[in-house]
């Protein structure tokens, strides 16, 4: 359902971010994007959600050709995806409940459905008792769980996580990865970008390894190897 076809991304003055990258991700897969900082993991994610356009090549997501989407087509497209970031990106003036509800509100879902669904999902990520807290009243791990709840509440086809554990200690890292696995077991495709060797080696799932903007390895049950 996700296809990268000969994708390159060059930044004027900053060199090459991606060079001729090809891969395909099928529905229901759990794929890790591995590599050092600056290897191109984040660039792949930005291209995937249409935040940037490739210099060369094509990016497909389901029936969408992402690189051809106009600004005003992006919102509707992004409702098919849930994204989790390293820096959480929660709305600071909204409570945990409202942050999660927002993903449904933007899709125009009725209030009744929102009031029913949000507490369920927050319960699932273990924050049932902190629904009314604002982000600054939550720990890093809790914030990331709110972000995950927001990313999955509208039942997206794909959840993309960009270094979701980068700001977390090993204990919370473990929690977050468990959550992502759970989401994957429920049938959602998960794309996880990380440079955390431990995380990737414990997952024992498909690993796409990047180095200096090139895809150097793509293995069904991969390990984090950078040589």
């Amino acid at each position: 359902m996700i296809v990268f076809q000969g994708v390159s991304k060059h930044y004027t003055g900053h060199g090459v971010a991606l060079e001729d990258v090809n891969f395909q991700i099928d529905p229901g897969e759990f794929v890790s994007l591995a590599g050092r900082s600056g290897a191109g993991k984040s660039t792949i994610i930005k291209l995937l959600i249409g935040e940037e356009k490739p210099s060369k090549g094509r990016v497909f997501f389901g029936q969408y050709e992402v690189n051809k989407l106009e600004d005003n087509e992006l919102p509707a497209f992004r409702r098919h995806i849930g994204v989790v970031f390293q820096d959480f990106r929660l709305l600071p003036t909204k409570t945990a409940y409202e942050n999660v509800a927002f993903a449904l509100e933007v899709a125009g879902r009725p209030q009744r459905e929102i009031a029913e669904l949000v507490p369920q999902v927050l319960d699932m990520v273990g924050l049932g008792d902190k629904m009314k807290n604002f982000p600054n009243e939550l720990s890093g791990g809790e914030r990331q769980r709110v972000a995950i709840a927001r990313a999955m509440i509208h039942r997206p086809e794909v959840v993309i996580a960009d270094e979701p554990t980068g700001n977390l200690d090993p204990f919370h890292t473990f929690e977050i990865i468990k959550l992502l696995e759970k989401i994957n077991q429920l049938g959602t495709t998960v794309v996880l970008a990380t440079h955390d060797k431990e995380v990737i080696n414990n997952l024992e799932k498909r690993v796409i390894t990047l180095d200096k903007g090139r895809l150097i390895r793509d293995e069904k049950k991969g390990k984090y190897i950078l040589v």
Binding site: I49, G50, E51, E52, D71, N72, L74, P75, A76, F77, R78, R79, I81, V83, R89, L90, L91, P92, T93, F102, A103, E105, V106, A107, G108, P110, Q111, R150
Partner: protein, 302 residues
């Protein structure tokens, strides 16, 4: 559609409330701008009434020979009233002129005695002509100076006062033009201050806008709440500025009245409060809303 609109308002109100400090600071600056705007409206009223106070003092009087009959004078009055430049024509008969004269010199026995010793009324009947615009006295004077009217007319005051009339007319014109230029210029400044304040407020929200975009919020749902917030800021700034302005005018009004007789600025404020509020509202809400609309625009790419 209805859900989206109601959510836009809901989010707008909530952001307004939760961004308490930002709202307070923005409203404070917008209130200053609104007070400036209100001050300009009042300034306009003051200059206009000052100008019209001067204008009221300008007129020309036509004095008729004593042998001109009243009918002839009234005919001329009618023809004058038919002129497009003329605002009003007052007829002062010989008897009225005498009565006024006697009243003015009641405390001067020599003058009243001298008048009483005359058999006939020596004072001439006159027409008092006011023009719509002070610059038009020349044209009225030309009309009165035509040969047809020459037999009836003794003197026209314009010739004597021409210099003063022209100078006053120039002052009235300058005050009006200057007032307008100042108003437009300062209104522009006030508007820009508001716009920039809102731009800064929205700049501090740029990351939030990015988050909304990533979650898949449509442009109108991202932008709408900010526009609602901007309009709320404008609304509250308009209200506060009126509340602040009332006591200031109350104290200033008597002093202004000394300079420009007949001008009661506080009363004007009180009588026109609804109209002024509507102006303020338009100024605040429109600029607030539009500024937000524009300021969010640049963050809606990607």
């Amino acid at each position: 559609m209805f859900t989206i609109i109601s959510r836009i308002f809901h989010f707008g109100f909530k952001n307004f409330w939760r961004n308490g400090w930002l709202s307070t600071a923005t409203i404070a600056v917008m209130t200053l701008a609104a007070i400036g705007f209100l001050g300009l409206i009042i300034f306009g009223v003051v200059t206009r009434s000052a100008a019209s106070a001067i204008q009221d003092k300008i007129d020309i009087s036509v004095y008729f020979n004593t042998n001109t009959s009243e009918d002839e004078i009234l005919n001329i009055q009618q023809s004058l009233e038919g002129l497009s430049q003329v605002a009003s024509v007052d007829y002062i008969s010989q008897d009225q002129a005498l009565a006024t004269f006697q009243q003015n010199h009641a405390n001067d026995p020599t003058v009243s005695q001298a008048i009483n010793e005359l058999d006939t009324n020596p004072l001439e009947a006159s027409l008092n002509v006011k023009a719509k615009d002070p610059s038009e006295y020349g044209a009225i004077n030309d009309y009165l100076s035509s040969p047809d009217l020459a037999p009836y007319i003794d003197t026209i005051s314009y010739a004597q006062n021409q210099d003063v009339i022209n100078r006053l007319a120039a002052i009235v014109r300058d005050v009006n033009i200057g007032g307008w230029i100042l108003t437009v210029f300062l209104a522009l400044v006030a508007g820009l201050v508001m716009f920039n304040t809102i731009r800064l407020a929205i700049y501090s929200n740029r990351e939030e806008i990015g988050v909304m975009r990533v979650v898949g919020a449509s442009n109108s749902l991202v932008r709408g709440p900010f526009v609602v917030e901007g309009m709320l800021w404008g609304l509250i700034a308009a209200l506060i500025s009126l509340i602040v302005f009332a006591p200031i005018l109350y104290f200033v009004s008597p002093y202004l009245n000394e300079f420009i007789p007949g001008l009661n600025i506080f009363q004007y404020f009180y009588m026109h409060i609804v109209q002024l509020f509507v102006y303020e509202l338009l100024f605040g809400v429109v600029i607030g809303g539009l500024s937000s609309f524009w300021a969010v625009r640049r963050y809606l790419k990607n």
